[in-house]
Symmetry: C2
Subunit: 328 residues, 2 copies
């Protein structure tokens, strides 16, 4: 019942954003914390949790009925012993469809224009060409994972004149920004044709080390790998070898495995790896938090109206439930 609901929001919200949430459940009581200030006691009272509570504290949420995550891939919260099994988990799919694809495109262009190499040369005050480059226009882009992020990236690349092909788990209607769609069985035939391979996958048993030594070797010589999904989709050691050999021209990685990348990891020193510390999403672009609030508010309205929630996660597979609606 709405009037008995204790909603704990663990997000750095502005007043106008709190008002949007509260308007969706006017009889419920709301508490606001941040990742730094939330306590086990706060969690023990919550019937609904929204946002970025540290996963290791979530076992204290013994009354929890529903967890609305702030990420599109709440892998860490799907593990046993984190969110109690009786609670529904919903993702924030839709919140990062602007920020993550733009970050991935920025990495893509940086690498194909050699701007990472020019940045390194700038330190040496070196005014000297670093050689041939390629264009995104007329390039072949393979997007693996056609969720919110993959479709967003496909849109950006196709807007700039790239030929985009997508791979997804199940056959579904073709988005307009993708020329062809395949399921994973075709992956080995598609990898040798792509100039740019972009990963936008959640972390689950079906995706872990999808890009292993064999698949990396199937990539076109001189091609580029971009990962905006989860680090575990790539075998990091195999990638490092493929970069060192020059078989892969460059890799743009916002996510790594392990993550955070330890200070002594050799990937840091590989010049053709461009690494950012899982910041493509997060709250670094103000629009992201606005979108999380809008998704959460719509799900709050649905929850108390007894309607189907959006973005419901399937704990068994780690994917969104196939029949759940998503927010676009």
């Amino acid at each position: 019942m709405e009037s008995e609901a204790n909603i704990l929001v663990v997000l750095p919200l502005e007043e106008y954003q709190r008002e949007i949430l509260e308007a969706a459940a006017p009889k419920a009581s709301f508490s606001y914390r941040t990742s730094q200030t939330v306590t086990p006691e706060d969690l023990s009272k919550a019937t609904i949790l929204i946002g970025w509570a540290p996963a290791e504290l979530c076992r204290h949420a013994t009354k929890l009925e529903w967890y609305q995550s702030h990420t599109s891939g709440p892998d860490a919260y799907l593990k046993e012993g984190v969110i109690r099994p009786e609670a529904i988990i919903t993702s924030a799919t839709g919140a990062y469809g602007l920020a993550v694809p733009e970050h991935m495109l920025a990495m893509t262009l940086m690498i194909i224009k050699r701007l990472h190499t020019y940045r390194d040369a700038q330190r040496s005050h070196l005014w000297k060409s670093q050689g041939a480059i390629t264009s995104i226009w007329n390039s072949n882009v393979l997007v693996i994972g056609l969720g919110d992020l993959g479709i967003g990236y496909a849109k950006l690349c196709s807007s700039l004149g790239a030929h985009v092909v997508g791979v997804r788990r199940t056959i579904a209607p073709k988005p307009f920004c993708v020329e062809e769609v395949y399921t994973g069985e075709e992956l080995d035939n598609l990898l040798p044709k792509a100039d740019i391979v972009a990963l936008c996958l959640p972390d689950n048993q079906g995706t872990r080390h999808m890009m292993d030594e064999r698949r990396l070797s199937l990539m076109k010589p001189g091609s580029v790998l971009i990962n905006g999904g989860r680090g575990a989709s790539v075998d990091t050691d195999a990638l490092l070898r493929a970069l060192r050999s020059g078989h892969i021209f460059g890799a743009g990685l916002d996510v790594t495995d392990p993550e955070p990348l330890p200070p002594d990891h050799p990937l840091w020193d590989e010049p053709s790896a461009v690494i950012t510390p899982h910041v493509a999403g997060g709250f670094y672009l103000p629009e992201n938090l606005d979108r999380i609030v809008r998704i959460s508010a719509e799900n709050l309205r649905r929850y108390f109206a007894g309607e189907q929630l959006m973005n419901v996660m399937d704990r068994a597979t780690g994917n969104r439930h196939p029949l759940t609606l998503s927010w676009h």
Copy 2:
């Protein structure tokens, strides 16, 4: 007369590219050199010169009737004592409308996503957020100079959801990728509104130090400057001060003043300056040379048919002649 023409081509052409040129003037005689191999004697025989002969050698071309440049801004060849006054000079406007705008977009995204800062942090093996970012989507982009490069950059930015406004010398029909077009008189009113200011100007008296201390101070706090045209459009010392103060968040410079940037110039060490050594155009993207060949071949055909050449330069102003056709 075509059969008496001595055409000296100073470009690193493949056989298929030579065939395209020769098909446009089948009775003429062609010689091929590169910037490294061309001699004063080669130049003394040429009636038509195509490509990148070093400017300091061009005074030896005493029989020259027409010089087809390989660049869209052949400033160095317009100066007195380089190409003899009787010769027509045509630019390669149209050749770089893909490569330079893509390079400028790559610099833009790199800076607004702080990828230059993350690249620096990578050297220290630092897994740490560098703070808030912005998006190209919904940003306000001001493009100064709506030639081939400026329109190309405007197209890319508007495809990604930016609001693009353009400034040009003379009022002309509005390209579809630009929401509004103004002449230079409005510049001071437009600068404070733009998140990104992109310069795509030739070097001439009207453009030199267009972005001086006063105009740089009119830019919005935290905005970004991109220069893909000519270094002299910007007062480098004033820019350095604006970057150091933080008033300008970052500058992406493929061209500088002086150029090449001397090894001891302080701009190299300014972290918010992203510098590339005038490589956005050139022959680094194979498509560029193909386009120069196609432009040159069409102009050869026109030349011997007695038709008006495309891209004729006006030596007095340093701009393309307003009535000349351009290649798109």
